[in-house]
Every structure is written in structure tokens, then in C-alpha cells.
């Protein structure tokens, strides 16, 4: 008796499954090839863009040094030279984080970076800034020294005067430790992740008067999403010759990030 081997079922996902829908949704979050692009428009070749990346790199060091600090606890840095080193690394990476974030913010403000359906990118950046302020503030409160005592009492007065002092207690060290190491980093992390996703989704804003080249990230607008779903029945606006259109910025090979 001979038996024919059963042919393997092709691994094509059924479009009706939730995993296929989730996969399609994730792939559609950013334009194809823009999750980690290897080419950027020529106008991205500027020092001003370095500060956004430097801010992100600083955040990585902040989180890493903060994780090491959790091993020794709040008072580690008072009694150990290693603890003081890690604590200082945490402090100075935070200083660098805020300095680079503010310079990034100045640059984006003067570029009017909210143009071209990028309002949410700007808003999440601002939210990340304010969330980071709160996280840094709770860090001051858990130094376990006279500085943190003085700051917490002054803050308590200010928050009570603002009418929000009953919702949390900045003089409760245990509460502030948990806010600083879990709640607020989670909030900032989610907002920063959303900000990066929107940067990839919308693309880097072109200079005022220029337009992004067609072979790099184009903002995912409702019109483009509709065109991608229904097919190329309508011509892509960037392919329509129009002498009144602003000059396109070239895609420079030197513009690789």
C-alpha cells in the first residue's frame, strides 16, 4: 500500500483572521519602507536633526542607569562610590536629555513642524516634554536628602494652592518612588513611542516653500490611505506636472541618517 505524501498547506494567512488584520494594520501604520529608512530628503542633512536623536539616545541612558539604580535603592548613592557614579550618570543623562529636547523643540518651532498633517506629531512631542518634566520632578523628591525634603514641602504648598494637592501627596516618598520608576516612565515611553511612530508615518517636515521628494516618506493622509485601498484610479498629486508647484527638494545621498 503506497501513500502519497500530503502536500503542505501553503502558509498564506487567511484575510479573515485577526492576526492577518493586525499584521495589515501594523504594516499600514507607516508608508512601505519607512519603519527604518536608509534614505532621507537632502534637507534632513542638518545639525538640528541630530538633537532629536541625541534626545532619544539620552533617554536610553536615563532608563538604563535608572534600572541599575533600582538594584541599590534610594539611599545607595549616599554610601557607595559605585552608587554615586550610577546616580550621577542618571542625573547628567537627564540634563542632556532635557537640553537636547529643548533645542529639538526650538528647531521644530521655527520650522513650523506641524505643517502638512503633522499636528499630532507636534502635540505628542509637547506631551512628551511635559510628561518628562513630571518624571524629573518626582526624581528630585526621592533623593532622600534635605534637598528633596525642601522641594517636596514647597511643591506641596504650590499644588495645594493650585487645587490639586488632594489627589496625590508629593511628601509621600513611597508614592513618589512608584510614580518615578513605573507610572511616569511608562507614560513618557508610550508618548515617545507614539511620537516616533508619527515621525515615520508623516515623514520629516520639508522646509517652508519646498516639498518632500516623492521617493521618501509621504505623510499618510486620509486621501493617500483611500487611494492605497481603492487602487491608483486617481493620479498621485506629486506626479501631476504643475509649474506652480514649489520646487522639490532633492534626495541627497549625503542625507543618509
Amino acid at each position: 500500500m503506497s501513500s502519497q505524501p500530503t502536500p503542505a498547506t501553503p502558509a498564506t494567512p487567511s484575510p479573515g483572521t485577526w492576526t492577518a488584520r493586525l499584521s495589515a494594520w501594523i504594516e499600514g501604520l507607516v508608508p512601505k519602507g519607512q519603519w527604518l529608512p536608509d534614505r532621507q530628503p537632502a534637507y534632513v542633512a542638518s545639525w538640528i536633526y541630530v538633537f532629536g536623536v541625541a534626545c532619544l539616545a539620552s533617554l536610553v541612558v536615563v532608563i538604563a542607569s535608572g534600572l541599575v539604580l533600582t538594584l541599590g535603592g534610594l539611599t545607595w548613592w549616599h554610601s557607595s562610590s559605585l552608587g554615586r557614579f550610577v546616580n550621577s550618570t542618571h542625573l547628567w543623562s537627564v540634563e542632556l536629555f532635557f537640553a537636547t529636547m529643548v533645542i529639538h523643540l526650538w528647531g521644530k518651532f521655527f520650522m513650523a513642524a506641524w505643517r502638512g498633517h503633522r499636528g499630532l506629531t507636534w502635540a505628542t512631542g509637547a506631551l512628551a516634554f511635559f510628561g518628562s518634566l513630571g518624571t524629573a520632578f518626582t526624581g528630585y523628591l526621592i533623593q532622600t536628602n534635605f534637598d528633596s525634603q525642601w522641594i517636596s514641602t514647597q511643591a506641596k504648598d504650590g499644588l495645594n494652592a493650585a487645587g490639586i494637592g488632594a489627589y496625590f501627596n508629593v511628601m509621600n516618598v513611597g508614592q513618589m518612588v512608584l510614580w518615578h520608576v513605573s507610572l511616569l516612565p511608562l507614560v513618557v515611553g508610550v508618548i515617545v513611542g507614539l511620537h516616533l511612530l508619527l515621525v515615520r508615518r508623516r515623514g520629516v517636515v520639508p522646509p517652508i516653500g519646498a516639498e518632500a521628494p516623492s521617493d521618501v516618506a509621504q505623510p499618510v493622509t486620509p486621501e493617500r490611505r483611500e487611494r492605497a485601498v481603492s487602487g491608483p484610479s486617481a493620479p498621485e498629486p506629486s506626479s501631476v506636472p504643475d509649474e506652480s508647484r514649489p520646487e522639490r527638494a532633492p534626495t541627497g545621498s549625503g542625507a543618509r541618517p
Partner: protein
Amino acid sequence: MSSEFFAAAEPTPAGAVVQWGFITVTVANLVTILVMILVFVLAVLLPFPGSHEEDEQ
């Protein structure tokens, strides 16, 4: 031990401040702000290495 404790307990000197009307800022913070503005201006003005590679070809 006790001398170390009391040395640590002494308040840190506040440092020099600059007062301009109702604005009071420590010299350290003022220097930091000015350096940040300088870095921002340099970032805008200085060319990025390799940014003119395409033009030269």
C-alpha cells in the same frame, strides 16, 4: 562619623545670582541657558558633513 554627618548636613551654598527686575536666575542656570542658545544657533548655521555631496557630483 559625626563630623562626616554634620559636613553632609550643612546646606549647600546657594551660589551667585543675577537679578533683573522680578527675574532672579542663578549664574549656573544662566550660563546653561546661554550655552544652549549658542548650540542652537551653531546647529542652524553650521553645514552638516556630507550635505553637499550630491551637488559636487
